[in-house]
Amino acid sequence: MDRSLLAGCIIFIVLLAMPMALPLIGQAYLTGLIIKAMLLAIAAISLDLLIGHGGMVSLGHAAFIALGAYAAAIGLESGIENILILLLLTLALTGLIALITGSLALRTSGVYFLMITLAFGQMAYFTLTSLAVYGGDDGLTLWSLATLFGSDVVQKGHGLYFIVLATLIVTWWSVFRISQSRFGRVLRAARDNPERTEVMGYSVTRYRLIAYVIAAMIAGVSGLLQVQHAEFVSPAMATWQRSGDLIVVVVLGGLATRNGAIFGAFFLVIVEEVLGSFLHEWRLIYGPLLVLMVLFAKGGLSDLVVPNGPVPNGPVPKQPVPKRDNGHSA
């Protein structure tokens, strides 16, 4: 068993034990924090599929978390209580929007892709703020949450914790398997050299679009669970700053690594909590910390925690500045 797989298993065992262990040391409230970190990790893993494995840097991914959350919220407000049906709604909405926006966005690449995903993210944000019925700018507090066939096990406490943990494990496992599959290999090849990949006989755009939709749907699921946890939705979940935070988590943790997204998510939540508890202006430290990490710790946290762990295919190569007269039709 390779080291990163072992590290992942250890993390999950620890997470499994937390709800029982924490009350013993009088820190039961921490489970809420851990749920927050796990939800972030789920979304980050999905973004890693895009950035780490796919080489597609999206600055609008948070919008899919928000859309998933709002799909659930609107469903709840309309009287749908069954979490499985809400799940279907979430997947359908995020999948559809990803299909449409992805088809348009993937006609571009590099910085243009960055900008157009930003644009779509902003459009999502503005659309959500205009939903006056669902709170508009202020967001919406949800008074009734989803149930699993009538039981409130998915609403709070240990029930929700384990559901989120299970989702995280499934996401973690699936995305890694996908990255190593035939599909994932083509995606990674296209990340390295899209032109060469086309000439090998692959329609790169098709593979990227599928990855984009999968990533969006996973992010949507994260949003749905967040509704259960926070009991609140707001358009602020879709801002580009949140998308930026997601990118930070993924890169900080280590791109295209097995556990990077989890490291990054926990790191961010811990920093925010710990740093934030004794320094209200913790961002004064967080900002420069980011800069320093970019300048000096290129492999991210994963490199520090599991040195020489299998980084399936290394860091993302530098994108060239878009040339003025690109002779290619692509």
Binding site: G110, V111, Y112, L114, Q122, A132, V294, Q319, R324
Partner: protein, 308 residues
């Protein structure tokens, strides 16, 4: 809608567009010439505004404060370049996004700590605070007109510099074929520094000018940044002329759109529907335009042309 209101909206749109131009021009050149994605360009705008606030507090002379703010903004930009940006030019765009993101977070927080989170305002001196009578029904603030004038002036200076001077030629070469420039034996480091410095100063200048008009608050640069990126995509990366045209276009569409969207929609739909959708649609207009450009004319409206 009355003609007067329409004219006011147009003038406001032009003025907003000029500010956008000042910010976008630098951003476009920095990205075009150096391939550097600078998300922190927006906070440079914010820094300019806060500098003006600080200096007007210290001296009572508005024009002096403007001058000092410009200088300080330039120095600040150069400092950032030296400390951080210089090390990022060869890194991937992703790294650049992250590092400049970190700078945004830091500076926004710093502004909050030093000046407080509240919105601040700056008073214009008397000779700038009045309005002039443009038409029988239209009085328009002098200061905003001056802003438009300054924008045009800067545009002319930049156009002249880029098109007719040696350094402008190097910039245009750098924007289209960066490899050639260093092969020509030009000190790339110095060229980058100059381009960057000018860009930072323009952004700071925009902040200085904007401060008396808009609110001065932490995070004020964030939204401007996004719109600036929209402008340079629409105009064409590396193109000053493109930034000018696109900035005016975006300024007008955004300003007119916000006021007119609801009205236009209520011609077709019910007023309550129009009121709901109107503002959201208005905010989206410029993004829709950008997405359209990316799909149909990806090089922008006025793409940067190479050295003849």
């Amino acid at each position: 809608m009355s003609t007067t209101l329409f004219l006011i909206l147009c003038l406001n749109g032009l003025q907003y567009g000029m500010l956008l131009f000042l910010i976008s021009a630098g951003l476009s050149l920095v990205f075009g010439v150096m391939g550097f994605i600078n998300l922190a360009h927006g906070v440079q705008y914010m820094v300019g505004a806060y500098l003006l606030f600080a200096f007007t507090g210290l001296t009572d002379n508005f024009m002096l404060s403007v001058l000092l703010s410009l200088l300080a903004a330039l120095l600040f930009g150069l400092l950032l370049e030296y400390l951080v940006f210089r090390h990022l030019y060869k890194r991937s765009h992703l790294d650049q996004v992250l590092a400049t993101f970190g700078i945004i977070i830091f500076l926004n927080e710093l502004a909050k700590v030093v000046f407080g989170p509240a919105t601040l305002s700056i008073e214009l001196p008397e000779f700038l605070a009045g309005s002039i009578q443009l038409t029988e029904q239209l009085r328009y603030p002098i200061y905003r007109l001056i802003t438009i004038g300054i924008g045009v002036l800067v545009a002319l200076v930049l156009y002249f510099t880029v098109s007719y001077t040696r350094i402008g030629m190097l910039i245009r070469a750098g924007a289209t074929t960066p490899e050639i420039v260093s092969a020509l034996g030009v000190n790339i480091q110095r060229l980058f520094m100059i381009v960057f410095g000018v860009g930072a100063m323009l952004a700071g200048f925009a902040g200085v000018i904007a401060a008396p008009i808009y609110a001065v608050e932490p995070g004020m640069g964030d939204n401007m940044l996004i719109v600036a990126f929209v402008v340079i995509i629409i105009g064409g990366i590396g193109s000053v002329g493109g930034a000018f045209v696109a900035a005016l276009l975006v300024g007008l569409i955004d300003t007119l759109g916000r006021s007119l969207a609801t009205e236009v929609l209520s011609l077709v739909f019910s007023p309550s529907f129009a009121n709901q959708i109107g503002p959201a649609l208005a905010s989206m207009l410029i993004y829709i335009l950008m997405a359209a450009i990316l799909i149909f004319r990806p090089r922008g409206l006025l793409p940067a042309k190479g050295v003849a």
